[in-house]
Symmetry: none
Subunit: 194 residues, 4 copies
């Protein structure tokens, strides 16, 4: 219901900007309300509490993020290409959205455990996409069949996430998307020479 309201969207977008500009701890509800052009109290007509705003930011933005990746990978023919596309889009979407990258990689991690768990819940479908690619790769005999799928998924996600975080913390000074083939190659072939 609330997703259809324009104010809901106004507040979500204001929250991303405010958090990116002021940091997690500098983002008071009143500041978000001001940026969104609504009264403080209005926030509570659309969100249960402050944490709900943050979760909703993540749901909303990551929802789109994940959907884009899910759609794009589904159009590829094999697991190898799908993984490449996933990496490329993971990087390109965050590289294209400065504020969102700061919020997801740095600011939202400063939240309490409860929020972190809800964020993980939002990430579940993305992890599902990765799982699907790995499974498909095994079926296609492109990937080894002795791998622990959840573990592989963690490694892929951990590698991408750490790469993006480092890029953000280094003030986005280099070309993130350009790392795609290297990351893909390392995940596919590993580090070994043989």
């Amino acid at each position: 219901m609330k997703n259809n309201k324009p104010k809901y969207k106004l507040i979500i977008d204001a929250a991303v900007d405010v958090i990116a500009e002021n940091g997690y701890h500098g983002s008071q509800v009143s500041k978000i309300a001001k940026k969104a052009g609504v009264a403080d109290g209005t926030i509570y007509l659309y969100f249960k509490n402050k944490e709900d705003i943050l979760v909703s930011v993540f749901e909303d933005k990551m929802g789109q993020f994940i959907e884009q990746i899910a759609t794009a990978t589904s159009e590829k023919d094999n697991a190898n290409e799908k993984l490449y596309t996933l990496i490329e889009m993971h990087f390109s979407q965050l590289a294209a959205n400065h504020h969102l990258a700061i919020v997801t990689q740095l600011e939202l991690r400063q939240s309490n455990l409860s929020l972190r768990q809800q964020i993980n819940r939002v990430l579940k479908p993305y992890l599902g996409v990765i799982d699907g690619i790995v499974k498909e790769g095994i079926e296609e005999k492109l990937f080894r069949n002795d791998i622990n799928i959840p573990l592989m998924r963690q490694m892929i996600f951990g590698a991408l996430d750490e790469t993006v975080t480092n890029w953000v913390m280094n003030e986005e000074k280099y070309d993130l998307v350009g790392l795609t083939p290297h990351v893909h190659s390392l995940l596919i072939k590993g580090i070994s020479t043989d």
Copy 2:
């Protein structure tokens, strides 16, 4: 009767326990002082402020953590074995210290940027150890010579970190150390069948 441990150590150890039990935001200085058996004011004879306690916890505990790994890996003969040992010890040390694992993987990440940057500073030597192993592997021709070392290091660290975080968030229900050969294998050989 009295505790002979130096107060500095008492406070560090108390902080780990209190943070693990109450979470980052539930860890008031007074709670740490009480657990350490000292007065609130005594904390400030040994630490500049609350953030300094947290940084010191990380420096102290991670300092040992890193040193153990550095020593153990240096005793191995080649990069392959060194990487295996690094993974195994990374997992085993955190698996052996429940509270420390919670603090490093979950609670300390909820901190502000300033603290995060200090934490990264402490991690530098560990990243240096990983870099060293990768370089050595290339020299030994065990590892491919076309890999981007900082990227590889990020992927290794990201994979280990994500694996431990997931283990902690899943309430440590499975055997973390047992994942060592799988993680090692994936990093070394990648996911591909050929």
Copy 3:
């Protein structure tokens, strides 16, 4: 039932009472809030910080004090009568307001330099009134033309201030306003017999 006074005024009046009763250092913000019948946080909707309450008390109360004196003296015909009126009103206004007298003569002086300088700023117009009377007296040839005006103003203010402070410190046991003719006479004619 509810108090219709604006909160700003409620807090100012509460502050005068609380400071007079508890002393400067015994006047916690929470005590002032309680006396004013508002929440602690409400104070900060009307005042920047605690010091701002104190400055505002002085501005508000002394503003009225000074205006009364300025108006009354302007209605007198010559500098001599104006000086008499100034002394009389200076004494009578403080004698009529027990709490205000304690606050201005004793408590507000226990403040830090920054507050003291702001208090001096508020007093400026009063010192200007005194200067004006002295100048007028010189023009009217009632007062000597060889006097240093700032010095004379300091002496007049110092004499009045010291007289009121002594009266307050002696628990207001005698008639302050009754001293008017003596103080006036001493300022006008000096101590000498010739």
Copy 4:
């Protein structure tokens, strides 16, 4: 007893310097101890508490101040000259001792009521000296015999004190001692032309 100890003196002198340099509220006991070259605890072998240090500073320094003035005035032949000498020495002693002037005129006034009352006790003898001069002047028929002596004393002290305070607050930019004849003249002859 304690007055004979060198450490007592060391601490008193350190206190004057520390207060003049750091202000009343910036003068922690530990800072005074450090400046005096003794341990914090040693302070409490010579002084009951912090307030006692401050009272003792005033007793010690003002004791000398008053004694000098009492001696010098007693050597003059009539009340008129004695008053002149008192003003001159009041100004010159404070003008000669920058730190002491700051402490007596500004910093010590930021103290609580109890300390202020003790300071007044120390000032009593000085007020007695002024009283004596006024009485003598009346007896010598140099001064009017209809004046209220305590009031006159307040006015004299108030005038001198206000003059010195203004000089200190104006960063001692002009010649304080040079004001002596003007202040004397105003006190003796008043402001009137006749």
